[in-house]
Symmetry: C2
Subunit: 156 residues, 2 copies
C-alpha cells in the first residue's frame, strides 16, 4: 500500500494533479499507469453494461486512443487477473467485461436474451440453498438471470 502510494506520486507530482479513479484502481493493484489501462478502465467504469473486446476497442478508437488489438486483450486479462474486472462468457462467442463500481465482484448479472446486453445487478446475491453432493467443494456461486431488458421488453 505504501509502495502503491509512492508509485502514484511519481507521475502525479510531475503533472501537479490528483489521481483519477481509474489511476487509483490501477495503482492499488501494483500495476503501472498506462494510457491503455486508464482509458479501458474509464470506458468500463462509465459503462452501464458489460462490454465486448470489440465494443471497448471502438470506444477507445472514438476517443482517438491508438492501441493494438493484442494489448487490449492483455489489458483486459490483467484487469480480470487482479480482480478489478469480471469476464463473462456469453452464448454468442464474445466475452464481456465489466467493473463493479463498488468493491469486489460478488453479484449477479442480467443477460438480455434479445439484444445480448449484460448488466451487473449489484446488491443482488442468490440465497442458494445448496445441497451439494458429497465431495464437492464450493468456492463461489455465479448467478445469471435471463430475460428481456427494459428496452427490449417494451416492443413485445
Amino acid at each position: 500500500m505504501l509502495q502503491n502510494h509512492l508509485q502514484l506520486t511519481c507521475k502525479l507530482m510531475s503533472d501537479h494533479r490528483q489521481p483519477t479513479p481509474a489511476e487509483s484502481l490501477i495503482a492499488a493493484q501494483g500495476g503501472r499507469i498506462t494510457r491503455t489501462r486508464v482509458a479501458v478502465l474509464d470506458v468500463l467504469l462509465a459503462a452501464d453494461q458489460s462490454l465486448t473486446h470489440d465494443e471497448i476497442a471502438a470506444a477507445l478508437a472514438a476517443q482517438g486512443i491508438k492501441h493494438d488489438r493484442v494489448t487490449l486483450y492483455r489489458t483486459l486479462d490483467w484487469l480480470v487477473d487482479v480482480g478489478v474486472a469480471h469476464k463473462m462468457a456469453g452464448d454468442d462467442r464474445a466475452r464481456r467485461f465489466g467493473v463493479a463500481a463498488s468493491g469486489p465482484h460478488e453479484h449477479a448479472h442480467f443477460h438480455c436474451d434479445r439484444c445480448g446486453k449484460v448488466v451487473c445487478l449489484e446488491g443482488l446475491q442468490p440465497a442458494v440453498a445448496v445441497n451439494l453432493p458429497g465431495g464437492y467443494q464450493l468456492d463461489r456461486a455465479e448467478l445469471v438471470l435471463h430475460g428481456a431488458c427494459p428496452s427490449c421488453g417494451k416492443d413485445v
Copy 2:
C-alpha cells in the same frame, strides 16, 4: 405426437426392434433419426458431465462412427434448439453440451475450476430472492457453482 409415432414406426418396422431412448428423444422432437444424432445422444446420455465438441467427436471416432466436424456442430445446435441438450459457455473457449437425463433443463451446474469439468446438479434450483430493477422481465435463472470437484479436491 401421432406424427412422431408414425415416424418412428417406419424405420422400426423394417428393423423389427424397439426404439432406443435416443431414438425416442429424437422422434419426439420431430427430427429424423440419423446415425450421427443417435450416436451423439447416446454419448451425451451416457456421460456424467458436459462434453465439448472435441470430446464428443473423439467419442464418436472411438466408436468408429464417421462424421464431419460441421455436422457435429449442427447436430449439437439442433439438440439445443429443440431443448434436449444444454449448451454452456465456459471460461475456457469451448462450449460444453449435456442432456438432463430426466425432463427439461431446469437445474444448476457445478463447474470445477481446476479440471474444467461441468456436471449437472439435477434437483438443485436456486431460491433466488430477486429484486430486479424495474423494467426487467425475468425468464429463467442460470446458476453455476464454482469450486473443486471430488477428484480435484482430494489433492489439496
